[in-house]
Amino acid sequence: MTNENRGLFTLEAAQSYLAAEPTLDVTQLSNRLWSVSDGQCRTIFVEGETSVIAFDTLGTPGRARAYKRAIENTLPGKSISTLIYSHDHLDHAGFAADLAPGAKIIADEICAKVIKARKAEGQLVPNAILSGHKNQLSIDGVDLTLLNPGPTHGSGNLSVYFSEEKLLFSSDTILGNAKYGFMPDYHIANFVEYMRGFLALDWQVFVPGRYQITDRAGFEQGCDFIEAVQIECQNAFQEFVPIWAFQPMEGYVGGKLRQRFGNMEGFDDHIGMIALRIVHHYLMGGYGLEDTPNPGVLLADEVTL
C-alpha cells in the first residue's frame, strides 16, 4: 500500500492515481533549456552552471518523480537547486515535496499566499517571494525575466522570458490549440490585453502550460481566438440566445467562429465549453476583484508570509 502526498484528495482510492509515474516527453529547446510534458501539462527546466532550475512540479507525486527522473537522465550529475512556481494550481505546482524537497522555491507573493492558505499535502510553500510586474533574476549563471502582467489564470501567475533563446513560457494562459475547456480560474477581464503585452518582447517560441509548443503566430492566434469568443458571446447575449444552455451557445459561437478558427485543434470539442464560460463573464461581471479593470486580490491581507 502506498502513502503518497495527497494534495487535496480524501479518497483512499486516489493513491493509485497519485502514484502512477508516466513516461514523459522531453524536448530540447536550446543548449541549456528543455521542455517536458506528461501529455497534457507542460513545463520547462534550465541547466545552470552547477545545478538545475526547474519550473513547476507537474500534477501528482508520481508525475513529479517522473519529472525528476527526466531531469536526471537529461542532465546527469546535476540536481534541482531552484524551483519556480508558475502559479498556485496543484496540477502544475502541487508536489515539490516529491520533486525537490530541499530546493529554493521562488513564486509570486499572491501565489505563495494561496499555497500557504491551501495547506495541500505535498505542495511546499515558497521561500523566496517576488512582487511586482517584472523581476530579472540571475540564478546559477542563468539570466531570466519573470513577468506578472496582472491576473490572467490562477493566482500570482508568473511567465518567464529568456531573451537569449527568444522564448516565452506562460502556464495555462494562451494555448497552442483551442482546448481551453471551461477555462477554470481564468480572469477574463484583462486576459487578452495582458497576454498581448508579451508581444512587446522579442521572442519566437512560445511554451504553454499545456499541450504542444507553438510560435509567435500561434500565440497571436490564441489571443485573437479568445478575443473573438468574447465578442461573439456578447452578441449571443444581445441576440437572445439562451446563454446558460450549452448547446445553443456551442451552436451560436461555434457557427460564428468556425470559418476563422475551425482549423485550431480541439475547436469543435471545446467551443461550447469556452463560450459558456465567457458569456457568463458578461452576465455576471467577472469573478472577484482580480477580474475587474482595477484588479486586486480580496482577502490578501488574511494570509501573512
Binding site: Y17, L90, Q238, D269, Y287, G288, P293, N294
Partner: protein, 308 residues
C-alpha cells in the same frame, strides 16, 4: 460642467461591462411575477431569477435589481403595482454579480444601497455601467437592520458564491433569503464563481437558525427539507469528483463527462430538475477543485463552521 443626458438621447441602455454597441437585450422588458411570502415579505421573479422585496411603513425595500436595465425597470414597476404609494427607498445587494445586482441605476437610482464590504470592493473596482456602489457598507458576519418598520438581519457566513454574498434572515417570519447558493434541482451551469472549499460547511451554518421558508435567487421557493436535500447532493459530488479523476476522466472532455455522469449519476438523479443540462459541467468543476486546488485566497481559507 456636464449634465446628464435625457433618457431619449442616451446612446444605449446601461451597458454593464458589454463592449459591443447593439444592446437591444439590455432594454427588453421582461414580465415579472410577484407573490407574498409571509408577513411583509414578497418575492418577484422573471422566470429564472428570483428576489424579494419588503413592504415598509412609508416605502419599500428591494433586494437586488435583477438582470438587465429592462428587467430592473420591470421589477420596479412590479413593486410599484403591489405598493403604488410606497416607492423603493432602499436596495440591499445580495452580492456583487451583475445578473442580480447590476442595475440599481434603472431600478431606483436615488435609493440607499446596502452591501457587504467585500461585495462593494468589487463593485467599485468593476466600474460597470448601471451598477451603483453602496451608500452604506457593512463588515463582519452579521448586522441587524430596523428600516421603515422592517426588521431583518444580514448574514455573511463566509465565501460561498461571488463576493460578499449575504443572506437576509427574517426571524419573526422564519424566512431565509440567499442568492446563488441553494436552488431547486441538481444543476447550476458551471458553478460560476463558487467557492467550493467553503460551500457545504458554510451553508450548513444556516441550519442553526429557525426558519422554514428559503427563498433562493433562482426558480421557486423551497422549504427547509428541500434545502437540506439539495445541499446533500452537492456534498456528494466532492467524492464523485475525486472518483472521476481516479477513473481517468478528463475534465475538458465534454462527451466523456456526459457519458460518465449518465452512467454514474443518472440512475440516481436523472429525473431531477436541470440534471441533464448541468450534471456534466458540474462534475468538471468539482474535478477542478482537486486538480487545481481552490481558486484564489478566498477559495483556500479554512471554512468557518460554527453555528450562527
Amino acid at each position: 460642467m456636464t449634465t446628464a443626458s435625457p433618457a431619449q438621447d442616451r446612446p444605449c441602455e446601461h451597458c454593464g461591462i458589454f463592449t459591443i454597441g447593439n444592446l437591444a437585450a439590455q432594454g427588453a422588458w421582461r414580465d415579472i411575477t410577484y407573490s407574498p411570502v409571509r408577513d411583509n415579505i414578497w418575492t418577484a421573479s422573471e422566470g429564472i431569477y428570483r428576489t424579494i422585496f419588503l413592504e415598509g411603513e412609508k416605502g419599500c425595500i428591494a433586494f437586488d435589481t435583477l438582470t438587465t436595465p429592462g428587467t430592473a425597470r420591470a421589477y420596479g414597476a412590479a413593486v410599484g403595482r403591489v405598493f403604488p404609494k410606497k416607492p423603493i427607498h432602499t436596495i440591499v445587494y445580495s452580492h456583487e454579480h451583475l445578473d442580480h445586482c447590476g442595475y440599481a441605476a434603472d431600478l431606483a437610482p436615488t435609493a440607499d444601497i446596502i452591501a457587504h464590504s467585500y461585495a462593494n470592493q468589487v463593485i467599485v473596482a468593476r466600474e460597470s455601467d448601471g451598477q451603483l456602489p453602496a451608500t452604506e457598507v457593512w463588515e463582519g458576519e452579521r448586522k441587524s437592520y430596523h428600516l421603515d418598520g422592517c426588521y431583518f438581519e444580514l448574514i455573511y457566513p463566509g465565501p460561498t458564491h461571488g463576493d460578499g454574498n449575504v443572506a437576509a434572515y427574517f426571524p419573526q417570519s422564519k424566512v431565509l433569503f440567499m442568492v446563488d447558493t441553494v436552488a431547486a434541482g441538481v444543476g447550476y451551469t458551471y458553478l460560476m464563481d463558487w467557492h467550493l472549499t467553503h460551500y457545504i460547511p458554510v451553508m450548513k451554518r444556516f441550519l442553526s437558525l429557525d426558519w422554514d421558508i428559503f427563498v433562493p435567487g433562482h426558480f421557486w421557493v423551497l422549504n427547509r427539507q428541500q434545502f437540506i436535500e439539495i445541499l446533500g447532493f452537492w456534498e456528494h459530488l466532492f467524492e464523485f469528483g475525486q472518483q472521476a479523476i481516479i477513473d481517468g476522466l478528463d475534465p475538458h472532455d465534454w462527451k466523456g463527462l456526459n457519458r460518465y455522469t449518465d452512467e454514474k449519476l443518472g440512475p440516481h438523479y436523472r429525473n431531477q430538475f436541470r440534471y441533464y443540462e448541468y450534471a456534466a459541467m458540474n462534475l468538471s468543476r468539482y474535478m477542478q477543485e482537486y486538480l487545481s486546488g481552490g481558486w484564489g485566497i478566498e477559495g483556500n481559507l479554512k471554512p468557518v463552521t460554527t453555528a450562527l
